[in-house]
């Protein structure tokens, strides 16, 4: 399973549609302070089903909608899509005959949410279930947010145990 691309629109500072293409090897994201690099990490987590506003640095889920700037009005919808390709034929069984899986999450200022797998509406649970056994599941250890690299060394022994359980 490989990550192929990421599309962000209306999520945090991504008021204009942005597309990231991920190729083999190492992709490096660079830019000045405050330009949106960590917002990309938040977008990926959100799309994979993150429900904690705090983990996305907000107070509530409405904090992920672009809320305006000097030159632009706030937007009423945020949408993030992730496309995975079946690189090593290791897709979850239900999709083993697909060459790609596209996961989409949408949120509206009214508070409504929509979820899609390959553009077919589904529930949030279907998305989180899809990734349960793939290493980017619930206690995703493959994503290390800014300032949190030391956590795995500083945490309590019980929390470190949880990581081992996640791998088991």
């Amino acid at each position: 399973m490989k990550i192929k691309n990421l599309e962000i629109l209306g999520f945090k500072s991504f008021v204009d549609r942005s597309v990231f293409n991920f190729r083999e090897g190492v992709t490096v994201i660079v830019g000045p302070n405050g330009c949106g690099k960590s917002n990309v990490v938040d977008a990926i987590r959100w799309c994979l089903g993150e429900q904690s506003a705090r983990r996305l640095r907000g107070d509530g889920m409405e904090d992920v909608l672009f809320n305006g700037s000097d030159g632009r009005k706030p937007l009423g919808m945020a949408e993030v899509s992730l496309v995975f390709s079946n690189g090593d034929g290791d897709f979850p069984t239900a999709y083993s005959d697909c060459s790609e899986i596209m996961v989409t999450r949408r949120a509206f200022r009214s508070g409504e949410s929509e979820f899609f797998i390959n553009k077919t509406p589904c529930r949030l649970k279907d998305i989180t279930d899809l990734f349960l056994d793939t290493g980017i599941g619930k206690r995703v250890y493959s994503i290390v947010e800014q300032g949190r690299i030391e956590e795995i060394v500083n945490c309590k022994p019980e929390d470190r145990r949880v990581l081992i359980e996640e791998v088991a």
């Binding site: 204009d16 090897g25 030159g71 793939t134 980017i136 500083n154």
Partner: protein, 150 residues
């Protein structure tokens, strides 16, 4: 189950013991269960950078903790791979020598896994297979641009 946790713990520990000295160019580290009951035990961490004495992980420096954390994360990933590994400024506390070790190690692992790194460091940028520039020409509005490394 008791057996499965014990087994996974041993696998991760073997990898961690092997990766740590590769990343630090010496020294040793391991995971320990802090109780006999495998279902209740927490996982302790001991780290000993090259030439130093084994001591409390909390006494390590910022750079040493980051490198130790990276070694443990890579050990977990080697047992249960993920489609990608995303590190946001994990290299911020590292000096030039460690940035070098960190980036070469990732370059090696990237033959089998995708890595997405966010960084301000020029040396980390050098190992990129592709580079994404993120800017705000218009205040508050993120825009993606192509980047050239000189």
């Amino acid at each position: 189950s008791r057996e499965r946790f014990r087994e996974t713990f041993e696998l991760v520990n073997e990898k961690f013991k092997a990766i740590f000295p590769k990343l630090f160019e010496g020294g040793r580290a391991e995971l320990l269960l802090n109780e006999d009951d495998v279902l209740e035990a927490g996982v302790d961490l001991v780290v000993q950078p090259p030439g130093k004495k084994l001591q409390n992980v909390s006494l390590l420096s910022g750079g040493e903790k980051a490198m130790g954390a990276i070694a443990l994360i890579f050990a977990l990933l080697s047992i249960k791979p993920a489609p990608f590994c995303l590190l946001d400024e994990a290299d911020a506390p590292l000096d030039d020598f460690n940035i070098n070790r960190f980036s070469r190690f990732i370059k090696e692992l990237s033959q089998d896994s995708q890595f997405i790194l966010i960084t301000h460091n020029k040396r980390t940028m050098e190992i990129a297979d592709s580079l994404c520039g993120v800017t705000m020409e218009e205040a508050g509005v993120t825009k993606l641009v192509s980047v050239k490394l000189n």
